[in-house]
Structure formats: structure tokens, C-alpha cells
Amino acid sequence: MTAPVAREHALALLRQMVLIRRFEERSAELYTRGKIRGFLHLYIGEEAVAVGAMQALRPDDAIVATYREHGQALARGIPAASLMAEMYGKASGCSRGHGGSMHFFDASRRFYGGHAIVGGGLPVAVGLALADKLQGRPRVTACFFGDGAVAEGEFHESLNLAALWTLPVLFLCENNLYAMGTALARHQSQIDVRLKAQAYAMAADAVDGMDLLAVEAATRRAAEAVRRGDGPFLLELRTYRFRAHSTADPELYRSKEEVERWRARDPIALFTARLREWGFLGDAELAALEASVAAEIDAAIAAAEAGPWEPVEDLTKDVYTPVAP
């Protein structure tokens, strides 16, 4: 079977997914050891979404994400060490230890959070896109949010405003079927998320979020439409979270059988199998990839352990922007 993608690109994508998976597995361990505190929302199972979607974005595009943003941050290229230090609460973290797991920021990569109010990132994304439009920059603002957010007024207001003003926003709905523990069908009268865009005269599509290359292709199509000035686009990425909502979740709302059915469609296993089929990957290469990822995460943890704490005297330093007298 002929591969639809170059070997080097395919291996780079696989490595990103594996990096996210292993980074989060180690994060969960570190959480049980008390190294990471607060909430920890794992992305495991959804890696193809962040990695696939990010391929469509350029360095000067903007990203707005949610509190489950480890995958987007890593796929955007924020160093694992910077993210791990943030979860340790160290001053060397990407947000100086002010945000933790839920609030990763990196202005240099135009990564605008890390938003933990469901739906709260959408208006900000609309504004970022408005700034680009007013300044004539051909950029895209990609806004990730979950299926829970479609119940929020901000979702509807933001879709309307972005469509009304023809703003370059790529709305990426990561539909993992649960708003924390409430299934989509239990909180939405219309569970086909794409159809919600119709009410705002906005283009929309849906894609299998467990299929990396399908995600990449669908996001590229959507992003190019946005970039050429067609207005905003809503892309629904159908995925599943294998782990609990957060470290505090006993998972009473879904069956083990359901989780197992989705685990059978693990995006990393699916993509690995295809790479083997195409002759891109053997056991030795996979072992080398895993070793390189493990080494990167070991180094990130070591750097986080060694990182400095912010001095208590700086407690209120970043509340306002310093102004030269």
C-alpha cells in the first residue's frame, strides 16, 4: 500500500503524539507523588487532534486552548521542560508558575492559554482575529474548546460575531462526548455540533479525531478557507478521553466497556500500525523513538526539579504592567 504522506513527516507526527502520551503518563505519576498539584486534566486518547490540527497552523497564527491543553502546547513546540516546570509551580515554567497545568502561556509562540472557564477562550479568539483583520495580517486564530462549551452563551455569541464580521477564526471543537461527566446527548438537544454553525451561516465539517491524517487533512482544508478570507470555520473533531476528566473524577458516568471500545481505536496504535504497513517503522525505530521521548521527558523533569521558585517578594509583581515613570 502506498503511503499518502512522506516518511519523515509521518515519523515526526508519531513522535509528537508519543511525546504527549508519555509526558502525561509521567505527569500523572508525578501528581500521585505530590510533585504536581491542583487539577490535572489528561489528554490521553485525544493526541491525534492536537498534533493533526497544529500541522495546519503557521508560526504567526494564534492559538487559544482550554485547561486540557498539554497536547496543544507540546504540539505547538513549547518545550516539555517549560511545561513541566509550570506544573511544578516553578518560576522557570512557561507562566512563571502562576498558572499550573490549566494555564500554559507562551507569547513568543502566540499560545494564548490555557483557559479554565469553559467557553471563555472563544471571545478572546474572536478578538485576536479581529486585530489581525484590522491590521491586514493574513493570520488564523485557532480556538480549541470541548463539546461542553457548545452549551455556553459565549460559544453562540462568538460564532455569530466571527461570522458577522468575517473574522479569521478556526473553531476547533474537540468533541470527546462528555462535558466533565455529562454526556453530550444529556445536555444538547442537537448533538451534531456541525449543525450549530449553520445558524450562523458558517462553514463546518466533522472528522474522525482518532485518525491523525484525517485530522490533519480536514484542518488544513478548514484553515486555508479561513486564511483566504472566507470567514470563520467550525471543525468538529470526534475523539475520546481515555482517562478520567481530572484527578478528582471516579468515572461513575460511563461504562468500562465504552472506554474499552474507544481504546481499541487508540490514535497512536492506529497510526503506528499504518506506519508499519507502509514500511516506515520497525521495532528498532519505534524503540529509538520511545527512548528519545523518554530522555526528553527525563530532562524536563530534572529541569523542573532544579528550577527556581519565584521569590515571595514578587507575589504581586505581574498584576499590572510596569510603566516607566
Partner: protein, 327 residues
Amino acid sequence: MTKMTYREAVRGALRQALRSDPRVFLMGEDVGRYGGAFAVSHGLLEEFGPERVRDTPLSENTFVGAGIGAALGGMRPIVEVMTVNFSLLALDQIVNNAATLRHMSGGQLSVPLVVRMATGGGRQLAAQHSHSLEGWFAHIPGIKVLTPATPADARGLLLAALRDPDPVFVFEHATLYPTEGEVDEAAGPAEIGRAEVRRAGDAVTLITYGGSLGKALQAADRLAVEGIEAEVVDLRSLRPLDTASILASIARTHRAVIVDEGWRTGSFAAEVSARIMEGGFYDLDGPVARVCSAEVPMPYAKHMEDAALPQAATIVATVQEMLRRRG
């Protein structure tokens, strides 16, 4: 100096900002074709066009959030929310984003956003258009809260807000728009965080802001007839608060009455009172008094609304009672 209304002063500052800085744009409900709910932006759409004077849907949370995003993207948005009661629909974006993004990002981001809104009662608009909630906003670190009381400040503080790198909320008391005053159109921005003594006196300090300044000055005039000289301090900015100017005045007069249109319980007046206790207790000759709104949703009928709001007569009576107990 030019005599103009508060409304004209705000409009003049908006026009000056739109002319001088291509990053500035105005958006909000009915700011364009309608000319602004309070006619503040009348004529600006015609001068600057629909890209820079943008009518928005009735989506307060989202257009305030879009202002935050546009500020992050290098613009200098001015967002108009019709009234403070409507701004409650935008509290998520204000409290969870505008106020937090700089700190939560470890100092990487700034949000140079200006949000203007009308506040306050006195126009028989009842319980969903008349409240004074600026004290709530002043509770929130990460934003600044300005309350211009004169046309000159309406202009100068708005220009200062636009120059500020952080989110600034400007509360324009709705009864002030038609009031007149002298404005120096060549003056630069006012200083944020500096109170102003509007009238000097030695018997008592009336501490107030925004729509209550006029009432405090009226009260001071009436008291002067009785030989009581009240000093009137206009706070101008609730956050940052110029505590030093408040304490300096108390050190001169040794008595304080705080006039605040917010409800008394948990009011901004309570914060000012606490700061006087903390920093000026030994300068006081007696307890601090407060003249606030009655604890009731704003009634419609004129006589009831008058009774609910601070009035010059109430301020006079409060000062007289305070001085009567002196002996």
C-alpha cells in the same frame, strides 16, 4: 479653556484618540448608526467609518472578550457597554480574563483595553438600569477603575486610560452627560490614581466620586452658610485609590463623611472608611460617617428614587449631626 458638556468631552477624547492612533477603535451596542445610547459617539461613525466604529450584537460577554483579544493582538480597543447593569453579562470576561491574563501568563501579556459604561441612578429608570456597581469592579486586582466627575476629567481620564497598558474601566455617571464645565482641549492625559481636592475646608472632609461630587459640593455650599467649611475630595480613581490624599485631608479636618451611591453594605465607602481607620484613626475627632444608597433595588417613582439615593440634604444633615455630637 472651552465650555462643554461631559458628553462632548468624552466624545472629544474619543475623536482625538481615533485621529491620533490607528490602533484605536470603538465597539459596542449602538455606538455607530444610533450614535450611542447616550449620544456620546454621535458623528464618529461618519468621521471614522464602520471598521473603527463598530456596532456589536447584544453580546456583552463576547464583545468585551473580543476587546481583550484585540488588545492582545496589538489594538487599542475602546468598548462601550451601555450601562453597568448590562456589564454583569460580561463579568466572566472582565474578572476571569481581563483582570487575570497578565498575572496568569507570568507577566507575558498585557491587555490595553478601555471599557466605558454609564452608571448610577437619578433618571427614574428603576431597578435594572440605575445601580452603582463600580465598587464591585474596584474589588478586582488587575483592572483599574476610574470615575470621572467633571467634563475635564471625562476627557483627561479617558485619554489616560487609553495610554495605560492594562485594562481600565471608566464609569460615567449617567446624570453627568449634560452637565457643563471648562475643558482644556490642549491638556494631556490626567494622572490615574490621584484624588483632587475640589473645595478646601477645615471642619469636615466629604469624600466622594462620580455622580455624587455635585451633591457633595452643593452640601458644602449650604454648610458654608452656617459657617461650616467642608473640604470635598473627589477620588476620581477607585483602583488605584489615592489613600494618601484622603488621609492628608483627614489630618486637616479630623472628620470624614463618605458619599457613595453604592449600597452601604459592602460598599466602596466601607473600604474608604477602613483605610481611614487603618491610617488616620488618631487624626479623627469622631467616627467616620457614610451617606450611601438605601438598601433597596432602585424604585421608579421619583420621590422614592430621591429617597433611595444620597442627596445634598442628607449630606448636610449627616455633617450637622456629626458636629452636634462634638461637644
